[in-house]
C-alpha cells in the first residue's frame, strides 16, 4: 500500500514536483484559491510590516490555534509546519517565519466554511518564532511557536 502510493506519486510527477518546490521556498510562497496576491505583505522584510500589510494590526492571542512544528528542525530547508484553527468561521491562515528575509511564507484563504487546517514546509535559515495569523469573522487571531535551527553534531 505504502509502496503503491509512492509509485503513484512518482508517476504523477509534474504536480508532485511543483508542490515540493513551492514548499522548499524556491518558488513564490503558496497562495490558495483565487485570493488576491497580497504583494505588500509577501514582500515585507519585517514581521511588523507583514502584520500591518495583512491588515492584522489588532492581534488577539488565541489558544484555539495549534501550530504543529518540530522543537528543533531536522533540516532547516524543509521544516514541516501545520496550523489548525478551531476558531469558528476561519477565513484565512497566514504563516510567518519571523526571522526569514521575507517572513510571510504562506497565506491560505478558506471559502464556504472550510476546515481551518493548512500544512506546508518552510525554509528557515536560523532559529525563529513561527507565527500563525488567523482571520475569522473579520477579526485577527495569533499564536506562536519557536523552531530551533541548529548546526547539529555531538550526540
Amino acid at each position: 500500500m505504502q509502496q503503491l502510493r509512492r509509485s503513484f506519486l512518482k508517476l504523477a510527477g509534474g504536480t508532485g514536483a511543483l508542490v515540493t518546490l513551492a514548499a522548499t521556498g524556491l518558488l513564490k510562497p503558496i497562495t490558495a484559491w483565487a485570493a488576491p496576491w497580497n504583494k505588500n505583505a509577501f514582500e515585507s522584510k519585517a514581521t511588523a510590516d507583514v502584520i500591518k500589510n495583512l491588515g492584522a494590526s489588532n492581534l488577539i492571542e488565541s489558544k484555539d490555534i495549534t501550530i504543529t512544528a518540530p522543537d528543533i528542525a531536522e533540516n532547516g530547508a524543509i521544516v514541516p509546519v501545520a496550523v489548525t484553527s478551531k476558531i469558528p468561521n476561519t477565513q484565512s491562515i497566514a504563516i510567518i517565519a519571523e526571522k526569514n528575509p521575507f517572513p510571510l511564507a504562506a497565506s491560505v484563504d478558506f471559502s464556504g466554511g472550510g476546515e481551518g487546517y493548512v500544512s506546508t514546509r518552510l525554509k528557515m535559515g536560523q532559529t525563529s518564532d513561527v507565527r500563525a495569523i488567523v482571520k475569522a469573522d473579520g477579526k485577527f487571531y495569533t499564536a506562536v511557536k519557536e523552531v530551533k535551527v541548529t548546526v547539529g553534531g555531538c550526540g
Binding site: 528543533i72 528542525a73 533540516n75 532559529t127 530551533k148 541548529t150 548546526v151 553534531g153 555531538c154 550526540g155
Partner: protein
C-alpha cells in the same frame, strides 16, 4: 608520576602477560556479591531489567562518572545534576563504599584499583541469570546505543553486539547510535537477526514522505498474569546530532501527542502497567513525564546518568517514575512493580552496579565474545603508549582522553584550534596502564570519523560555541540534545551556563590574545555530520600521535572558566 622508558617497557610486558581480564578473583567474588545482588523477597509480580548505552563494551572496563554535570533552570540541583558528595548526600549513600564508587568520581583511581573493572557482557549475563532465577518472568529491556562504541562493533557493523544481545536474552529494544550504521542495516537486523527474538520499538520514527510508522510503537507482554505495555522512544534528535543522510527517509522528534495516543490505546486494550523504554535523555524524560499521563515508569538512557533512585514526576493522571541507568555496561536497572486490580500498587527500583570481580563470567557469553574478537585480537591489543595519568571522557566540559585527542589534532594537523565532540561514551584508563588500539577505538569508533580542517572567523567560532552550548544548557530540555559541550583545544573561553544563547560564551582567547571577530583561524575537528566530508579517520591521527610519544604525561585539561554557577551541586567542589 613519571615513567622512564625502562619502566614503560616493564609495564608493557606485565600487561601482555596478563591477557584478557575476563575472570578476576572468583573467590573474593562470592562473599561481597552475595548481598549486593540478592533481591530479597518481594510481593511484586512484574520485574523489568533495564540496560542502556552500553556502547558495545563487551569486556569489563573502567568508567569514571562525571565531576561536572550542571543543571540550569528547574533542573538545578535535581537528579541527574548532582555529582560527587552532593549525589551521595541526596541518595543517602555513604562515602568510601562500593556504591559511592559506582555512582561518583570520588577518589576514582584508588577506588577503581580496589574494586576493579565494571560491566562486561559475560558478567552481565551472570547477573541477568541471577535476577531471572529470583524473579521468574522478568523481561530484559535495552534502551539502545548498544551497537556502537567499540572497534569490534564498528568493524562488524554491530554484529558482535547483535549476537550478544540475543544470547543475553534482550526482549525489547529501542535505539539511537544504531541508526549511524544506516537505515538499511537497522531494518536488516530488525527483520532478520531479531525476528521472533527481540522487538525493536519506536513510536517516534516515521517515514518523511507519508508519515508512516517505521517500527512498531509498542507491545503488550503478559508477565505473571499482568498485562504490561512497553512503548519504545528512540533518540528524538538523531538526524540532528548525527548525520541526517544516514536516515534520510525517516523523521524523528519527541512526538509527545502521538505518545499520549499510544498510551491511551494501550490502556484501552487492557494494559495494567505502561512503561516507556526511552532514549530521550533524563531531563527530557522528566519534562515528558509531566505532560503525558498514564505512564507508570520511564526507563531512560542517552544522557548516561547513573541515578540510584527514580525521580517521581506528577502529572494530571498521577505519578510517573523516571530513571536513567548509566552507561558502558556498568549497571543493570531492576524495576519491580506490584500490578494488581488493574494498576500498579507499589514499586521498587535498584540500579545494580555490575562489578566484574563480584560476578563470575557466564561461559556461553564469554565464548561468544572470544569468537567475535578472535579475528581482531592482535590488532586490538597493540600497545601504542602508556599513560602516566588517568584518562577519561565524561563531564560537561572536557575529559583527559578528549584533551589527548585535541592535542593530537593540534599537533598532527598543524591547527590553531581543535574541536572534539562532547560525546558521553568512551572508557577510562588508569595511570600506568597501556593505551591500546582497542582503547583508542573505544573513544572514537563511529561511522563518520573523518578529521577535517577549515578556516573559521572569530565571529563564526563564537556562534558555533553558542549554538553547541545551547544544546546542553537550554533551560527547556526539549531543546537539549543530550551531549556534553564540545571539547576545545588551543582556545580559552569563559562560559556562563545560566545565560541565554548568544550570551553564554565570552572572553575567547588564543594564547592569551583576544579572538578577533573578523580574523580567520585554522580549526581541526572530527565527526562531521555533513554528507560527503573527507579526511583521515581520527583514530589514525591519535594512533600516530601516541606511537611517536610512547609515554603520555597527564594531559593538561583545557576547560572553560565556568561562571554564574557558584554553589551548583552539579560541580564537584
Amino acid at each position: 608520576m613519571h615513567l622512564s622508558r625502562r619502566e614503560f617497557m616493564q609495564i608493557m610486558a606485565v600487561a601482555a602477560a596478563q591477557g584478557l581480564p575476563l575472570a578476576a578473583g572468583p573467590a573474593f567474588a562470592a562473599a561481597a556479591g552475595g548481598t549486593l545482588y540478592d533481591l530479597g523477597k518481594s510481593a511484586a509480580n512484574v520485574t523489568l531489567m533495564h540496560i542502556t548505552d552500553c556502547h558495545a563494551q563487551l569486556l569489563p572496563v573502567y568508567f569514571r562518572e562525571p565531576d561536572v554535570n550542571i543543571g540550569v533552570g528547574e533542573a538545578r540541583g535535581r537528579p541527574p545534576h548532582l555529582v560527587g558528595e552532593a549525589l551521595l548526600k541526596h541518595f543517602g549513600l555513604k562515602p568510601g563504599t562500593r556504591e559511592a564508587h559506582a555512582y561518583t568520581h570520588l577518589d576514582y583511581v584508588e577506588a577503581a584499583r580496589s574494586h576493579g573493572k565494571v560491566g562486561g557482557f559475560a558478567h552481565l549475563a551472570t547477573l541477568v541469570k541471577q535476577v531471572r532465577a529470583q524473579r521468574p518472568g522478568a523481561l530484559l529491556l535495552d534502551g539502545g546505543d548498544t551497537w556502537q562504541g567499540s572497534a569490534t562493533a564498528l568493524w562488524s557493523k554491530g554484529q558482535d553486539m547483535i549476537d550478544a544481545a540475543k544470547l543475553l536474552g534482550v526482549d525489547i529494544m529501542t535505539g539511537h547510535w544504531e541508526f549511524t550504521y544506516g537505515a538499511k542495516r537497522v531494518e536488516e537486523v530488525v527483520n532478520k537477526d531479531f525476528k521472533g527474538r527481540i522487538e525493536f520499538l519506536a513510536q517516534n520514527i516515521r517515514t518523511a514522505d507519508f508519515d508512516d510508522p517505521v517500527f512498531r510503537a509498542w507491545t503488550m507482554r503478559e508477565i505473571n498474569g499482568a498485562p504490561v505495555a512497553i512503548i519504545g522512544q528512540a533518540f528524538p534528535y538523531t538526524p540532528i546530532a548525527n548525520p541526517r543522510h544516514l536516515v534520510a527517509d525517516w523523521t524523528f522528534g519527541i512526538q509527545e501527542e502521538r505518545l499520549q495516543r499510544v498510551v491511551d490505546e494501550a490502556r484501552k486494550k487492557g494494559a495494567q502497567a505502561v512503561v516507556l523504554l526511552s532514549h530521550n535523555g533524563m531531563d527530557t524524560d522528566i519534562k515528558l513525564a509531566s505532560r503525558v499521563s498514564g505512564i507508570d515508569a520511564i526507563l531512560g538512557g542517552h544522557t548516561h546518568d547513573a541515578v540510584p533512585q527514580p525521580v517521581p514526576v506528577r502529572n494530571r493522571g498521577g505519578t510517573t517514575l523516571v530513571t536513567n541507568a548509566g552507561s558502558n555496561g556498568k549497571f543493570l536497572g531492576v524495576l519491580e512493580l506490584d500490578v494488581r486490580g488493574g494498576g500498579v500498587k507499589s514499586s521498587r527500583y535498584r540500579l545494580l552496579p555490575v562489578f566484574a570481580t563480584l560476578l563470575a563470567p557466564d561461559a556461553g557469553m564469554a565464548e561468544l565474545i572470544r569468537k567475535h574478537r578472535a579475528p581482531y585480537e592482535t590488532r586490538l591489543g597493540e600497545k601504542l603508549a602508556v599513560s602516566e595519568g588517568l584518562l577519561f571522557r565524561r563531564g560537561n566540559f572536557n575529559g583527559s582522553f578528549d584533551q589527548l585527542i585535541l592535542d593530537a589534532l593540534l599537533a598532527e594537523k598543524d591547527a590553531e584550534i581543535a574541536f572534539s565532540p562532547g560525546f558521553r561514551w568512551g572508557t577510562s584508563i588508569l595511570p600506568g596502564e597501556p593505551i591500546t588500539t582497542e582503547d583508542v577505538m573505544s573513544m572514537t569508533a563511529i561511522t563518520y570519523p573523518q578529521v577535517t580542517t577549515s578556516n573559521i572567523t572569530g565571529e563564526n567560532l563564537k556562534n558555533l560555541l553558542e549554538d553547541i552550548c545551547d544544546n546542553l544548557f537550554n533551560p527547556d530540555p526539549y531543546f537539549q540534545q543530550g551531549g556534553d559541550m564540545v571539547r576545545v583545544g588551543g582556545l580559552q573561553y569563559a562560559c556562563d551556563p545560566t545565560q541565554k544563547i548568544g550570551s553564554r560564551i565570552s572572553d575567547m582567547r588564543l594564547k592569551g590574545k583576544a579572538i578577533e571577530a573578523g580574523r580567520s583561524y585554522k580549526l581541526a575537528s572530527w565527526a562531521p555530520v555533513a554528507e560527503g566530508a573527507s579526511g583521515e579517520p581520527v583514530w589514525d591521527v591519535v594512533t600516530r600521535y601516541l606511537r611517536a610519544r610512547k609515554v603520555i604525561k597527564p594531559p593538561v585539561l583545557n576547560r572553560p572558566r565556568v561562571i554564574g554557577v557558584d554553589g551548583n551541586p552539579g560541580i564537584a567542589g
